[in-house]
Symmetry: C2
Subunit: 342 residues, 2 copies
Amino acid sequence: MKSSFYGVIMAGGRGTRFWPLSTRKMPKQFLKLTGCKTMLQETAIRFKGICDPGRIMVVTGIDHGETVLEQLPCMDHKNLLLEPSGRNTAACIGWAARTLVNRGEGSAVMAVVPSDHVVDNAEGFRETLSIAVGPAMDGMLVTIGIPPDHPATGYGYLEQGEEIEKDIYRVSAFREKPDTDTAKEYVASNRYFWNAGMFIWRADTILNEISLHLPELAEGLEKLGSDTSPEISLYNSLPSISIDYGVMEKAENVAVVPARFGWNDIGDWPTARKCDVAKGEVISVDSENTTVWNEGKLTVLMGLKNVSVVETDSVTLVMSDEYSQKLKDVVAKLEKEKPDLV
Amino acid sequence: MKSSFYGVIMAGGRGTRFWPLSTRKMPKQFLKLTGCKTMLQETAIRFKGICDPGRIMVVTGIDHGETVLEQLPCMDHKNLLLEPSGRNTAACIGWAARTLVNRGEGSAVMAVVPSDHVVDNAEGFRETLSIAVGPAMDGMLVTIGIPPDHPATGYGYLEQGEEIEKDIYRVSAFREKPDTDTAKEYVASNRYFWNAGMFIWRADTILNEISLHLPELAEGLEKLGSDTSPEISLYNSLPSISIDYGVMEKAENVAVVPARFGWNDIGDWPTARKCDVAKGEVISVDSENTTVWNEGKLTVLMGLKNVSVVETDSVTLVMSDEYSQKLKDVVAKLEKEKPDLV
């Protein structure tokens, strides 16, 4: 009997680096950045054919439950897990796994994916998952590795170990975000992948690994029971740690399947430019490498390079590319001074 | 008997280089750029004490007559001259002079000033006019010369000749906009002024000069009669030429009085920055020499230098300073494609 397959979508997070478009009320994953569907919708549709709509599971913040159900009307309400607070990916993923185990679906294969990444080839995505399902059913922790096309310093890297079978390799090491020289070495070696935070494993496998490496989290998850909207005090007692740092880096049985699709985490405005994230009318005079987002106005750019101009009703951001990582500092400042704007 | 004194304000023009704030419907001179009064109002108020409100004369486009009367409710309606089309400064000034002569006020002294310049010291402005009135009553064409504080290439220059009396000099030459090297020589010599387009003369003096140097204009002006809102076909028959090129450069009896005030023509967005032309809330991160204009939003600038960000309801302009002179090309293009926006 074939195991059941769950698409587990992590839809927490603020998308701070996408402010002012992404706000607390409507974070990046719920926005139509790349077309006529939201990033969450694109993510769910990508599972079509390998995952029954009734087996899409979404973990999101308590404030965004309604938004998720509006955007994914076919999903089973019992698969909507509402976090009263953000406790990082180990808690989020552990809770999803625990929920399946509680329902007697411990042998189900979960494909855990972020809700706010761009995948340029849904068919390639499904092919990649199909390859990953085999070792996952055999008890491996499978990651999807993105072949790097440039020495990015903003992602963690997976080091490719021995081949297990065609297109499946052991991960010999997890590497934190490298400096530029190290990143260049990684890319030149052809033995490293970007860690895109996409994982395939059985629910019971990851829960066992959590018990082994994060026993406190495992105990906390048991206390949550089957409530899909737990008390904040209960959820806040879970340790806040990433699945990479808390489990993957310590685990033995980790494999990587190279992605058969183009990927972009559109982590900030300059990165999003590559995915044509843009809206509104523009007149551009001697301007290069710019991003414009406006809601029904005309934006005129004259003599600008490497700049994003993002307008909402209440805010206009004009940002030179090299400042994209500092945007979160502005948001943090506004959080105190003008909370309505973030 | 002392001659009567008229403040003649030239309020035509589109202020194209101030787009998108300045539009055909509401050009720069009717906007509150520097404070709680419009530039036209500031210009009129500057005459207070030396010119009776009933002797403020305004020449403007036919579409802006109501705006002028709203902004200057104390002016005498018969002193509002409505141009059916723009025919440059010789026609505009000649018409004002002709109107006074027709009313038997040929001996009146007219101080002709643009409506969209910033004068930082109204008292100094009045002092300067008081000095200029003497030679004007004696039949001179008096200009106000702005002592240059940098080698600007965007203005014409007046060359200072012999001293007529204290603070009054003959103009030995009018110089067109110079190149940078020439402008530097002018400034270093201490013998040149910027030509700010401010003139003081008797109505009959300038009309005689127009008869002499622009007889076709003089004849056309006679045909206008005393109608303050002439037919467009009649007005269009006037030659379109600047008073500088058409009269001043050819006249003999030209004097200059050095300005006793700070002056800025706020000709474009970067120039306006020096006069603190700005509106709206701004957060600025590592940004220098920027101008922001918004109507009740927050503008966030990150890593920008020498840039203006100007927002209206329908347009956002983000412009590097060195493109300020090319803005008129954008406006010209939009004139055809999106006339509502200009």
